[in-house]
């Protein structure tokens, strides 16, 4: 699609040109339409979060609030205990994403480069982990961490199993052992990526006397930064929004997904403490709180996405996930 110098080639309207122009118009319309479909709910959330409740029942108001208010944000910030939840979730997601990035990279590199007995079978286990819905092991996991014990060691020291619920240990354990949320997918993606990397670099390093671990840290890790950012971002975001494991393990500790899930109820409780001007919790109000909370929960992610976006797209494109 190089632009030709205008002086040399006379403009002639050919069927091919018309076709191409038509196609680019159609393509533009489709892409703009789809982008709109994706962005519209975000805009709705944003605009609803600035509305006061009577705007919701005003049929004249659709997107632009008539009674602009920041009251929703005040309530939601308080109801979610936002700043502290934010810090906690940030630490949790960041830590989990980092740990599972390390463990999944090691495992994926092992599967990509070395031959060892039962490798095919073990890789089938990775796929199995990917396809077993976490709901199946939800209850055993809960019980496992409720009555936690490793080979009877803790029982010997403490006199009984301990509960790891309401702490970050379940997340850490799952992240370090590649059994966290969608870690099978991460191993799979990273393995495909490592398989696509040229072997020559590693062989050269090996000949020069690097150990295998050193080759990994000095050669592989620096040259797979975009992919690492991608996996980190996936891990971070899915942990950030995940209500499955957080609601399973953390009952008393407020993190963003848990807080978001119970936001409407907690704001309602707040109100009824003040003497109950709201006797029932109206669906409009729930929706307003949910939207405000969602905007608050998403905001850090959007910032992160904008920062990492370039790496993200690049990493995905170079992953070369084939078959």
């Amino acid at each position: 699609m190089k632009a030709r110098p205008k002086n040399h080639v006379p403009h002639r309207i050919t069927a091919a040109k018309v076709g191409r122009a038509l196609w680019s118009i159609v393509r533009g319309v489709i892409i703009i339409g789809i982008c709109f479909t994706i962005l519209q709910p975000l805009f709705v959330k944003l605009s609803v979060s600035f509305m006061s409740e009577r705007d919701l029942f005003d049929s004249g108001v659709k997107y632009i609030p008539k009674h602009f208010t920041l009251n929703n944000y005040r309530l939601a910030l308080k109801g979610m205990d936002y700043w502290r939840s934010l810090l906690r979730t940030f630490l949790l997601s960041g830590g989990v994403a980092l740990l599972q990035l390390c463990s999944c990279m090691l495992a994926a590199y092992g599967f990509a480069r070395f031959r060892f007995p039962f490798k095919k079978l073990l890789f089938a286990c990775v796929i199995l982990m990917l396809i077993v819905p976490p709901q199946i092991i939800m209850l055993p996991l809960f019980m496992h961490f409720r009555f936690f014990d490793i080979l009877g060691i803790i029982k010997a020291v403490k006199g009984g199993p301990i509960s790891l619920l309401d702490s970050y240990w379940p997340f850490v354990i799952q992240a370090v052992t590649c059994t966290g949320f969608k870690n099978g997918l991460f191993i799979y993606m990273l393995r495909q990526f490592f398989k696509g990397m040229p072997r020559e670099l590693e062989e050269a390093a090996f000949v020069d006397g690097c150990t295998k671990l050193k080759t990994f840290t000095k050669i592989i890790v620096p040259s797979s930064v975009p992919m690492m950012v991608t996996i980190f971002l996936f891990g971070f975001v899915w942990q950030w929004m995940d209500s499955f494991y957080t609601s399973l393990y953390l009952k008393g500790t407020m993190v963003i997904p848990v807080a978001l899930d119970s936001l409407a109820a907690s704001v309602y409780n707040e109100y009824s403490n003040y003497g109950g001007s709201m006797n029932f919790i109206s669906p409009g109000y729930i929706s307003m709180m949910n939207n405000t909370g969602t905007v608050l929960a998403m905001l850090p992610l959007i910032v992160l996405y904008i920062v990492c976006q370039r790496y993200f797209v690049e990493g995905i494109e170079r992953s070369g996930i084939v078959g």
């Binding site: 982008c35 819905p133 009984g160």
Partner: protein, 314 residues
């Protein structure tokens, strides 16, 4: 490699051979996964099976399992024959999956092809299209689907309020074409559910796009040189080269559709376990569900992988 053994004898002692050292390194790297799989994942699976065959009572120091009635099959029988909703929801989930998966695959394939072309604003379009991967996961999706206001304002619902137009078009199609009514209904539901399809196809678009970019441009050059049209190029080069990813994406989409948190049956299982405190029944339901998923995955995977073209057999 001539030496097939993992050990060799040198100076009267058994040492690791080259192959043995490689195997050791591989196992060493994969160790986090191996520990996780055999230390955590597999025991959990086994426990989950044993829960489904037992009645459980929780005490302060642990829990006690007693064998359920009817040779332990009580919960399975209850879920399949007594529970009024389970069968219906199971069937509904399967039907939903079969209507949604082809649409998601076709849509994401189409979008990936489009995003792979060069045009102005491509970078922005890509960033926006990958946004659902980031933003519509986990708790947000659950809130969205339960939100009364948002559903009335969402594009899907808006097109429902303009249902007359779609109805008219489908009426016209029914009148003037020979398409069967079921096909037209399928199309109408596809148009109506476009928002759900778009937000479900983020990862799939990424995978297809990555695959498209790994096709060597020299293939296209050679075939264009021989006089092939773009249409022929698509069917003779792009499609076969991308076909392994159709398999990957189909399987991913099936799993995604079955395990999404908005799935009615998933909610029901969670409610049964934590709401009604029926551990055994919930586990049995989860296992019946998983076996259904497994069978469908095997069938679909078997059918598609027969038509997949692999460029280089490794």
């Amino acid at each position: 490699m001539k030496n097939k053994g993992y050990f060799k004898k040198a100076n009267g002692k058994w040492r690791l051979s080259l192959l043995g050292r490689e195997a050791l390194a591989g196992i060493g790297f994969a160790l986090p996964f191996l520990i996780g799989f055999f230390g955590l994942f597999l025991p959990m699976i086994v426990k989950s099976v044993s829960y489904s065959f037992s009645n459980m009572s929780v005490e302060s120091t642990g829990y006690v399992l007693t064998r359920a009635e009817k040779n332990g099959l009580e919960h399975y029988i209850r879920a399949l024959t007594i529970d009024p909703d389970f069968n219906r929801m199971l069937l509904q989930a399967i039907v939903d999956m079969f209507t949604k998966v082809p649409l998601v695959i076709i849509f994401s394939f189409f979008m990936a092809n489009m995003l792979n072309q060069k045009f102005h604003g491509r970078a922005i379009a890509r960033s926006i299209l990958f946004l659902p991967v980031i933003l519509t996961s986990g708790v947000v999706l659950g809130l969205e689907s339960s939100d009364l206001l948002l559903t009335t304002l969402s594009p899907a619902e808006m097109s429902n309020t303009d249902f007359s137009t779609i109805l008219n078009i489908s009426a016209l199609l029914l009148k003037y074409t020979d398409l069967p009514a079921s096909a037209i209904n399928f199309l109408a539901s596809a148009v109506n559910g476009i928002y759900n399809i778009i937000i479900a196809s983020g990862v799939q678009i990424l995978i297809f796009l990555a695959g498209l970019q790994s096709i060597s441009p020299s293939l296209y050059e050679a075939s264009s040189m021989e006089g092939a049209t773009a249409w022929e190029n698509f069917w003779k080069i792009t499609f076969p080269m991308i076909s392994p990813l159709i398999l990957v994406n189909s399987i991913y989409t099936i799993i995604d559709s079955f395990t999404s948190e908005t799935n009615a049956i998933m909610k029901d299982i969670k409610d049964t376990i934590f709401g009604e405190v029926k551990y055994g029944l919930g586990s049995a339901m989860a296992w019946i569900y998983f076996i259904c998923i497994g069978v469908i995955l095997l069938i679909v995977g078997g059918i598609i992988s027969r038509h997949v073209f692999y460029n280089d057999e490794r």
